[in-house]
Symmetry: C2
Subunit: 208 residues, 2 copies
């Protein structure tokens, strides 16, 4: 084994290995740190093909973060994985309403998912927000409807839910909305992918 125990050295070495394993493959320069960080997080090179960026998506995300926009996630796991120190340095905060008692109660009474209600609650935040959806296709579907009805205008939608029911469809749908997006096409994704994309944006702007 290598004798590397400094986390920043390990990360640097990992990115060099990823670059090597990608062969001569190139990406648009603004997308490259995001694609590589997702591969770093998952060890899954499928993301080199499945990540789709709307025009200017990265620029919009970076501009928003620079101005102190907030980040909304659909799971506490994604919230936990996002670097809150880096976000805080830029003036941003993170929100996840999935575990709120009022969200659970309303979801039960309306017979919809907590994820859907948590998006409605997030749409009422007064700050510009990046929405990072790593788990729930119903959250992404609800977000699509909220955008269509002009109830929310996200700075950027990171649409990377994972799974087998409505996941592929929810991602294809959000790509038709008038909003900047970064989407992992297909079934794969997850809270760690959502967090990795947020962190890849943050690390271009802020110390850790």
């Amino acid at each position: 084994m290598f004798e590397i125990v400094n986390p920043m050295d390990i990360e640097k070495c990992s990115f060099e290995i990823i670059t090597e394993l990608l062969g001569g493959r190139t990406f648009p320069p603004e997308q490259e740190p995001i694609i590589k960080r997702v591969i770093h997080t998952t060890a899954d090179f499928d993301y080199a093909d499945s990540l789709v960026f709307s025009p200017q998506a990265v620029e919009r995300g970076l501009e928003g973060l620079k101005k102190g926009c907030h980040i909304v996630t659909d799971t506490s796991m994604a919230m936990s994985g996002i670097n809150k120190t880096a976000l805080g340095r830029l003036g941003g905060q993170i929100h996840c309403f999935i575990a709120d008692p009022d969200v659970a109660e309303e979801a039960k009474s309306r017979n919809i998912t907590r994820s859907m209600v948590s998006m409605e609650k997030a749409a009422r935040l007064e700050k510009p927000c990046i929405f990072a959806i790593g788990n729930s296709p119903t959250a992404l579907m609800e977000l699509y409807h909220l955008i269509q009805f002009q109830k929310v205008n996200p700075v950027l939608v990171i649409g990377v839910p994972v799974g087998f029911v409505n996941v592929v469809e929810s991602k294809e749908q959000i790509m038709t909305a008038p909003v900047p997006y970064i989407v992992a096409r297909g079934r794969k994704g997850g809270s760690s992918v959502a967090a990795a994309i947020c962190n890849a944006l943050l690390y271009q702007l802020s110390a850790r």
Copy 2:
């Protein structure tokens, strides 16, 4: 899209699709719920081949949890993904020391990773523990040394770090230790995989 918004229905439907996509493939019955939950969490069928179980690993994990053993993780993300209600019903608690100020301080002074120091700290817990390592190969390597020096005797090691530096090696190493293990061979894994394996064990024993 399907009109399913009940989370338990979505999960049931997902597992049926996974079973279908696995074709006629069968697994040892005690391993099957774990393999399928990891695929459910990642949408990645590689885990049908890469998950390796030592003899009796699942039984040891279930017995431990029944008796109220605790769970130690290497990341707050994995901690966040494990169902603490289900664990608590069995009498267990969850621990993650990675963000503790004393751990950071000691890691800096000894020039080793916080993950390594967090394992040393966990080894001093007096309760029997399952160790679920989803991120850091240095945590898994340190755990191996602690086991070799009889400083800790885990109920079960879930060894699923992800990445490119020392990850494969750390997993091969832990499989030579005298301890029950569930390992995702190769580079893939992650905090969400570690949490999924813990939850797959918990859901066989406890309501959510």
